[in-house]
């Protein structure tokens, strides 16, 4: 079955993401879950001397969309500055996935994005 949402690239990110795993000494970490789905994301980031994101690793489980979107996002932000990451919008995430998402699935698609935003949030009142 040809399905843009479950195409090979997405399933590769789901099953064998190069970003799945842990860092030895992460600079930023973030945990987020969606109890409604049972999806969980644990995100770790390391920063280079220039303040740019060097490596992103994540662990967790959930549907294809939540896990693949996190992996795609990890690809996208390695090398980016924290400020660049803060400017990534949900629309950008949908573009990365390359498909339109129903409102229900949007929550899955944005789980990793929210975890990432939490990780790079400026000190102050924690975002959701």
């Amino acid at each position: 079955m040809d399905d843009p949402l479950y195409r090979e690239e997405i399933l590769d990110h789901y099953y064998s993401s190069p970003h799945r795993g842990h860092l030895e000494s992460p600079d930023l970490v973030s945990d987020l879950d969606n109890p409604l789905c049972g999806d969980e994301i644990h995100l770790e980031l390391s920063l280079g001397a220039d303040g740019r994101i060097e490596q992103v690793r994540f662990d967790g489980h959930g549907c294809v969309i939540s896990q693949a979107a996190t992996s795609l996002l990890a690809d996208r932000v390695e090398g980016a500055t924290l400020d660049e990451v803060r400017h990534i919008t949900p629309v950008d995430v949908v573009k990365l996935l390359g498909v339109t998402l129903s409102p229900t699935r949007m929550k899955c698609g944005l789980l990793g994005w929210k975890a990432l935003q939490n990780a790079v949030a400026e000190p102050g009142p924690a975002r959701e």
Binding site: M1, D3, L5, Y6, E8, L11, D12, Y14, Y15, S16, R20, P35, L36, C37, G38, D39, E40, D59, G60, H61, G62, C63, V64, I65, Q67, R105, C108
Partner: protein, 477 residues
């Protein structure tokens, strides 16, 4: 006056006739796949329903989800489809006599009042209780249970008392009691389940201490389909002087019991799972309990006399129905009960038993698929919840939708049950009178194609699973 006498619409009358039961069998239905062929044949012989005629009564079944992909609706535990007869009854009310009830003295209002109040009689007959004054209209099961918690519960329970629930319960039969328990310092106890998600009567017996005032239990689990032995439960609970509330939201569309004879103290159900509209449900309570219960919602209709400082309550059941009630929805529920009552309960039960048996046969052949709940099909209703390997149920639901198949995925508003089952979520197929053996075969084919899709792409990798996955995986039935 019977509601159906009020219908002037010939289309509606025709639908009624077309929905009448017939001894033609479902053998004429197209068959797909050879799986479970023997059981299939047995299921057909066992059912006296004409499923094609039933399907014709449900307009939603005439559509394709996308071009060339007909709808396979196996999500009736979430909400049932609505027969034309129900649509027409609501339309008739809104078109011909859209008046308010109880106070008008004009022809339309009297007609509306008669239709609305007539539904109480239909509900009473459906439940097997004589006094239709014990039927209170609510927005649904949830509001009905909240009414008992906030009225009977607050008036009755004291610090140190206990309420017993089962691990099978839907959030609607959990959270109202949690709130009450916190407010009144009441203990919430849970009856343990057996490993195949049946209610353990020994555990219930052990939980029934002198402090227990209420046991609130589902008539049928919306996840595992488990049907607890209500007769035995009522007997045990009453022997200890406690009350029984039955959440019949899932069970009533599938299992008709004489609740009057059974002696349950409270019963709640929703119209929309019973082929009726949303926004209407019922609380049944024994009259002596209802008489003693204070109202919890205040305003018009629920009073007989009001002065500047005080008010005097109306009698039961209107005491609990403040404001203009959901008239169209209640009339729709009445039409749904008329629709359901055309069929023999035995024929419906036989048909659904055939579907359930076939679903267990077909799904049981799919590698890595685990069916949740009782292995003994006599102890479950027409619901099959499952997991398939490490594939998230949401992915299953989304991919099945591409095949036109509507199922539910998630925790189905029963999170404690999923914790007990050791899984975050499940996929659920739930069947009704309009489903066919052929549809279940198509579900099996679609699930197998999804399994292969994931296997092809997994390159030997295992899907990421919950770290805390202490799965209590149940044997397939």
């Amino acid at each position: 006056m019977d509601l159906t006498e009020m219908k002037a619409d010939p289309v509606h009358q025709a639908e009624r006739r077309s929905g009448s039961p017939s001894r033609e069998s479902i053998d004429d239905l197209p068959q797909a796949g050879a799986a479970g062929g023997k059981r299939q044949a047995a299921a057909h012989q066992a059912s006296g329903l004409n499923v094609e005629e039933i399907r014709a009564a449900f307009p939603a079944l005439r559509q394709e989800v996308s071009p060339g992909v007909p709808l396979i609706y196996i999500d009736s535990a979430a909400t049932s489809l609505k027969p034309q007869q129900v649509v027409q009854a609501v339309l008739d009310y809104m078109t011909i006599y859209p008046a308010n009830v109880h106070r008008g003295l004009h022809t339309l209002s009297e007609r509306a009042t008669e239709a609305f109040e007539g539904v109480r009689d239909k509900v009473a007959r459906l439940l097997g209780v004589e006094d239709s004054g014990q039927i209170i209209f609510t927005r649904g099961t949830t509001e009905a249970i909240n009414l008992v918690a906030q009225s009977w519960g607050r008036a009755t329970l004291k610090s140190g008392d206990a309420i017993v629930l089962s691990e099978l319960e839907h959030h609607s039969n959990l959270v109202p009691w949690q709130m009450l328990a916190r407010e009144r310092d009441v203990e919430l106890k849970y009856v343990e389940l057996t490993d195949d998600a049946r209610l353990d009567l020994d555990a219930l017996d052990a939980a029934l201490t002198d402090r227990v005032r209420l046991v609130a239990v589902t008539g049928m689990s919306n996840v595992t389909g488990t049907i607890p032995p209500l007769e035995r439960i009522v007997e045990m609970v009453h022997a200890r002087g406690a009350r029984v509330l039955v959440d019949a939201a899932q069970s009533l569309p599938h299992q008709r019991l004489n609740f009057g004879r059974l002696g349950v103290d409270f019963l709640a159900f929703s119209g929309h799972k019973l082929f009726g509209p949303t926004g209407i449900g019922v609380l049944y309570g024994k009259r002596e309990l209802l008489e003693a219960m204070p109202p919890v919602s205040f305003g018009g209709s629920m009073v007989v006399r009001v002065d500047r400082q005080r008010a005097e309550w109306n009698e039961v059941p209107w005491k609990f129905e403040a404001g203009t009630p959901p008239i169209a929805e209640a009339i729709g529920l009445g039409a749904a009960i008329d629709f359901l009552s055309q069929f023999s309960a035995q024929d419906l039960a036989d048909h659904e038993r055939g579907l359930l048996t076939h679903a267990h046969d077909v799904l049981g052949q799919i590698a890595s698929l685990r069916i949740l709940g009782p292995a003994d099909l006599e102890q479950k209703g027409a619901i099959v919840s499952f997991t398939m390997g490490g594939t998230h149920p949401h992915d299953l639901a989304q991919l099945l939708d591409r095949h036109g198949i509507a199922i539910r995925a998630g925790h189905h508003c029963a999170m404690p049950l999923h914790v007990r089952l050791g899984i975050p979520a499940s996929a659920r197929a739930s069947f009704s009178m309009y489903n066919t053996i052929a549809e279940i075969d198509r579900l099996g084919v679609a699930l197998e194609s999804i399994r292969l899709l994931f296997r092809r792409h997994s390159h030997g990798q295992v899907a990421p699973r919950p770290a805390t996955h202490a799965a209590t995986e149940f044997p397939n039935g």
